[in-house]
């Protein structure tokens, strides 16, 4: 208890100036990535042997914090950027300053996102799903699962609008309660939240997963939810593989969101990179640290060091003019989202 009182005293008077490293989190305290960063920082400190503080730079759709890092902080050897899947989606379809190609990965978590559906849903019922730019991969998956292989974006838009109620304006908490109450009949969660909010719900069942991104650019079936990967379900339902105008856009956006779900970056040439990677590796091998982090996001692999860069490079190969144009067009016509086509992303 004396230790606790001492710690509290230190905490009350501590300032960020005492920190050795700073994690930039692009959202307010209490957000999902902010909480993840707090947990990782507390665990990482034990192996790093130095103090880590969290600096929140919030703003619209979590873009300003990452922009600030890109423009002013990436050359600071003691500053590390924390990004999440939403930043990946924004990178593809909004005007942002940041560019993953400009950084080195310290490490990242390659997650799968899981969708659930109410058991009382019957074929022919409308799917009721929370809208938002973070739901774009689910929207694209749902459009293909419900409509099969169609020839044009217009045909998909018409089919989507006929079969899906895309509900705007919902926070995460509201979405979860609405799904529990049956006001929504579909939802999606990260693996840990899925267990809590969908798997434990007697009225819900597994619907589909996006799969786990592999080194070669393919997506593998998640062993935690075998047989429910989008591509497997599509083929089972329609008797053919997904081969349509939406599929490249779907693959692009799901990979950028889930493959960079939680990621740590430093500027290129950072002299501390090796030390950071070594200590992060040590953290990912410490069972106590792994347990604390898994409780937040689920049991998924860390890609540390060059493997993180490799993942980023794999993602960049999905960026094609067709995929980007389709993404922007379907965002606009089906989801009502204002998106921007960014030709500069295509190499």
């Amino acid at each position: 208890m004396r230790k606790l009182l001492l710690a509290l005293t230190v905490m009350l008077f501590a300032t960020p100036a005492l920190a050795d490293y700073t994690l930039i989190v692009p959202q307010k305290p209490g957000g999902g990535t902010s909480v993840w960063a707090q947990i990782v920082a507390a665990e990482w400190e034990k192996h790093l042997g130095e103090k880590i503080v969290i600096k929140h730079i919030p703003g619209a759709r979590d873009i300003p914090g990452f922009n600030e890092y890109h423009n002013n902080l990436q050359n600071d050897p003691k500053t590390i950027m924390v990004s999440h899947g939403g930043n990946g989606v924004s990178f593809l379809q909004e005007q942002v300053d940041y560019n993953y190609a400009d950084y080195d990965s310290v490490g990242l978590m390659n997650l799968n996102i899981i969708s659930g559906i109410r058991k009382d849903y019957k074929a022919g019922d409308k799917i009721k799903f929370a809208a938002g730019s973070g739901m774009v991969p689910e929207g694209l998956a749902i459009a293909q699962l419900l409509c099969g292989n169609l020839a044009s974006i217009d045909a998909y838009t018409a089919c989507f609008k006929d079969k899906v109620i895309w509900v705007p304006g919902m926070s995460g908490g509201q979405r979860r309660l609405a799904f529990k109450r049956g006001e929504l009949n579909g939802t999606r969660e990260n693996p840990a939240a899925y267990k809590k909010h969908v798997e434990s719900n007697a009225d819900a069942k597994l619907w589909f997963t996006h799969g786990i991104l592999q080194k070669d650019g393919s997506h593998a079936d998640d062993p935690n939810y075998p047989g429910y990967q989008f591509e497997i379900l599509f083929e089972k339902q329609w008797g053919e593989k997904p081969d349509n105008v939406l599929y490249p856009a779907y693959k692009l956006v799901k990979s950028f969101r889930d493959g960079l779900q939680k990621a740590l970056w430093v500027g290129k040439g950072n002299p501390n990179l090796d030390h950071l990677r070594k200590t992060l590796t040590a953290m990912t091998r410490d069972p106590a640290s792994v347990k604390a982090i898994q409780a937040k996001v689920g049991d998924y692999e860390w890609l540390v060091g060059y493997r993180g860069n490799q993942q980023r490079d794999t993602l960049m190969t999905f960026v094609t003019a067709d995929a980007l144009k389709t993404l922007v067009e379907f965002n606009t016509s089906a989801f009502g989202l204002k998106s921007v086509y960014k030709p500069e992303l295509i190499k």
């Binding site: 208890m1 509290l8 305290p29 209490g30 507390a42 509900v167 908490g173 509201q174 809590k196 989202l337």
Partner: protein
């Protein structure tokens, strides 16, 4: 013994955090990530400690609002409207003892109800759907009229301006910027802290400096404040009920609870003036915050859905102690429930005792001439508002709202009405979009709670149109 020490440590820390302007429970809990591992060997002690922080910071946040005219947290601004004038009249101990007594009574009452009857609430949460939440939002908007001044035109302008400012950000349907004047900073909406500080704290500070006033500690009115709470017990309980209801429903927010409770206090006393030091304006809203904190734990514990931002941080800290909210394990863990209830309830009582015992030295801050603590207060306000991005943009928003606040004060436009409309605007918009997407009129008229709330809203609206505003505060 260790449980008591954890309780005392959490209470003292929470009280300090509560008193610091703009800090509040959320900020206080974030700072605990660095020390929570000290409790991993004794996790139930950790639960007691954390709940003590929540309870103590919630009670302590009324000090800054009443004594300095700066809300200790966003949600404490409503108490400030009548509390600060009381302090200026030399009646700070009267206002603080009434605020602390009301907070304590509601904290204990709703703490007991929540923690003893927690498993029963899940059914209630399942009954209240989007239509009921929407109806409740509209009811909240109808109560804005009660925090308006007697000049209806000015009040309507203030409400319209509040709604407009609340809609600044992005369109929730298209993600496109809205009313941002091309300034990216505003796409996340206008932040609440600079709005509250600019509208309320800065104008009072400037006014105090200009008039050179120094409040007097005329009397030690500690027991008068306690007695006032007893005499207005139904008012205090109603405020607690409003806070408790809002805490139960994720996404509504504690700030709304306080202002709704304040509006209901004004509405229930149509012949009295508010905004110039009416103790009912302190007792009405003060308990809402504590009740909201208690009931926010219901969706948090039962479903793992945080009922408020502080609850999201609390969930993560609990995770460190191996308590995962919303799981069958936690529902069966009686020691967890005991620690949760004990920490919250005992700290609520302990912090009340501390506040009342030390009320005299604390309230002496009011006797310091303005010119001495004006720079300090200004620094604190600026610091608090720069916690959002830490850039000059935060200061620009604070400056703009300070000018607006001073204009409203000078020309008698209702600042409470403007703020409440600002808080409600985007919530009403998002619930309206949800309602329109998922329900038809035929669905809605078959929902008895929805219909009852809507009828009540119509009645409230008609009543607020008929009577003249009785709040003497702009």
């Amino acid at each position: 013994m260790e449980t008591i020490l954890a309780l005392i440590a959490g209470t003292l820390y929470g009280l300090v955090i509560g008193i610091i302007p703009s800090a509040g429970a959320t900020t206080g809990l974030v700072a605990l990530f660095g020390v929570i591992h000290y409790f991993t060997g004794e996790p139930y002690l950790g639960v007691v400690f954390l709940m003590a922080v929540v309870a103590a910071s919630t009670t302590g946040d009324s000090f800054a609002g009443i004594l300095l005219g700066i809300p200790g947290a966003n949600s404490a601004a409503a108490t400030m409207v009548d509390g600060f004038p009381l302090a200026q009249q030399g009646r700070a101990s009267y206002a603080i003892s009434a605020a602390v007594t009301t907070s304590t009574a509601n904290g204990v009452l709703w703490g007991c109800l929540v923690f003893l009857l927690l498993p029963w609430y899940s059914k209630l949460l399942m009954i209240l759907g989007i239509p009921e939440l929407w109806a409740f939002m509209v009811l909240a908007l109808a109560t804005v009229g009660f925090v308006s001044t007697s000049n209806w035109i000015k009040s309507i302008v203030a409400i319209a301006l509040g709604i407009f400012l609340g809609l600044v950000g992005v369109d929730p349907e298209t993600n496109a910027p809205r009313f941002t004047l091309g300034w990216f900073y505003l796409q996340d909406g206008i932040q609440l802290m600079p709005v509250v500080a600019g509208l309320f704290a800065v104008p009072e500070l400037v006014y105090g400096l200009r008039t050179g006033q120094t409040a007097r500690i005329a009397h030690n009115e500690l027991w008068l404040g306690v007695r006032a709470t007893w005499e207005n017990r139904w008012l205090a309980l109603r405020g607690g009920f409003i806070g408790a209801f809002i805490g139960l429903l994720p996404g509504l927010g504690g700030t709304m609870a306080d202002w709704m409770a304040y509006g209901s206090a004004v509405a229930a006393n149509p012949k009295e003036q508010f905004g110039n030091g009416n103790i009912k304006g302190v007792i009405g809203p003060e308990g809402a915050n504590n009740a909201q904190k208690a009931t926010s734990m219901i969706p948090t514990v039962l479903f793992g859905i945080p009922g408020a931002p502080f609850a999201a941080i609390l969930m993560a800290l609990f995770m460190y102690l191996n308590f995962e909210m919303g799981t069958p394990d936690i529902a069966a863990d009686t020691e967890f429930f005991f620690s949760l209830g004990f920490g919250f309830l005992a700290a609520t009582v302990l912090v009340a005792i501390l506040c009342l015992v030390f009320i005299r030295p604390i309230t002496h801050i009011c006797t310091v001439p303005y010119k001495y603590y004006f720079p300090f207060l200004l620094f604190v306000i600026v610091w608090a508002c720069m916690q959002y991005t830490g850039t000059l943009a935060d200061l620009a928003v604070l400056a703009a709202f300070s000018v607006l606040g001073m204009l409203c004060k000078h020309y008698r436009f209702s600042r409470p009405a403007l703020l409440m409309a600002f808080i409600l605007a985007d919530k009403i918009e998002s619930f309206t979009l949800q309602l329109a997407s998922l329900y038809s009129v035929g669905d809605l008229i078959t929902r008895p709670i929805f219909m009852a709330v809507m009828l009540f809203t119509v009645g409230i609206f008609a009543y607020s149109l008929k009577r003249k505003g009785s709040i003497d505060y702009a």
